[in-house]
Symmetry: C2
Subunit: 199 residues, 2 copies
């Protein structure tokens, strides 16, 4: 391996962090535009204006490139809200999920999960990526709610959070509607207090 | 148009109901196997062992064929449960949604909804088909529950039902897990009584 001196590089052949960031961003963007099947390393190279050999050197195959792009995309949705109430925290998290689900990257990930004949390894990764979008948040948020005495002790946190995410997926992809604040509030209130008359 | 006498038809060229039923069933089956993009009328003709001209005569284009196949598929999920309780009815409906979501047809419909570059008319139809899978049931079930005094008067029935459907979609397509009876019961109990400590 020959050492590279960054001062010798042309702007179209960035190295290190900038190169990686650029390639991964273009990968996500093109995933959203053309989908997994039609995505190719030469296409990414062309759009990112880098040499495809540089891409192949770091990511020998498309699945490897997509895997890292998805993993990096997930880092951006990792901030836990702390509004002081379970209701406030769930609304904040649901709004984050809604923004993500409606984004180009979110759509791309959902498409990869469902693509026919796609790479099953990448599909599994996309499922994990989606399910873990902000995985660290919920547990902190729900722990705090339990300590405040707000959450039923028998409640399965995954069920609560995945149901919120599923309702938003249904709204975006099945009903094809926007996800306004008042929808999110009604959804969270349903999750907290239920639909049945009681007490 | 020449009249056809059914006694003259060979088994591979059925007419009327049997022909329509066979072509629509093969269309759904192939949608699930190869997806919307790769589906073609010649392929359907080949698998159904009918003449493609006969298909073109009734459905001149692929979107028209797929539209009718989806519409017919929906008819099979139209029975309203009547167990005597809202909980029982919701569990029965959720199990129906779960079976449908995990079926080849349900998967095909979800894929069409999300296909990149697909026919937007068919995508919209698939969304409607999915959202309306058993559309008549829920309203009857929720009306009965309201009359029995089981359902909060402020509850939006669509929110309740679409949230159940969304949670099942999330389970099947994101988490990639089975949908056993005890999951469905926990989901329905969450929808009815909520996650918050109260009273």
């Amino acid at each position: 391996m020959k050492p590279h001196l960054s001062s010798k590089l042309s702007p179209s052949q960035p190295r290190g962090d900038a190169f990686v960031k650029s390639v991964l961003e273009v990968t996500l963007q093109q995933l959203a535009v053309v989908g997994y099947e039609r995505l190719s390393i030469p296409l990414v190279a062309q759009v990112a204006a880098v040499n495809k050999t540089s891409i192949y050197r770091r990511w020998p195959t498309k699945p490897e490139l997509v895997r890292e792009a998805l993993a990096v995309a997930m880092i951006h949705v990792e901030q836990a809200p702390d509004t002081g109430t379970l209701r406030g925290d769930l609304i904040a998290m649901a709004l984050t999920v809604a923004t993500f689900t409606q984004s180009a990257v979110g759509t791309a990930i959902v498409r990869i999960m469902l693509a026919e004949g796609g790479n099953s390894e990448v599909q599994a990764l996309a499922s994990t990526a989606y399910a873990q979008a902000g995985k660290n948040n919920p547990w902190v948020v729900l722990q705090r709610a339990t300590m405040r005495g707000e959450l039923k002790s028998t409640m399965d946190p995954s069920l609560l959070l995945f149901t919120i995410a599923g309702a938003i997926m249904h709204r975006v992809f099945v009903e094809r509607r926007e996800v306004p604040q008042d929808f999110v509030e009604q959804l969270v209130d349903l999750m907290l207090t239920g639909a049945a008359v009681k007490c």
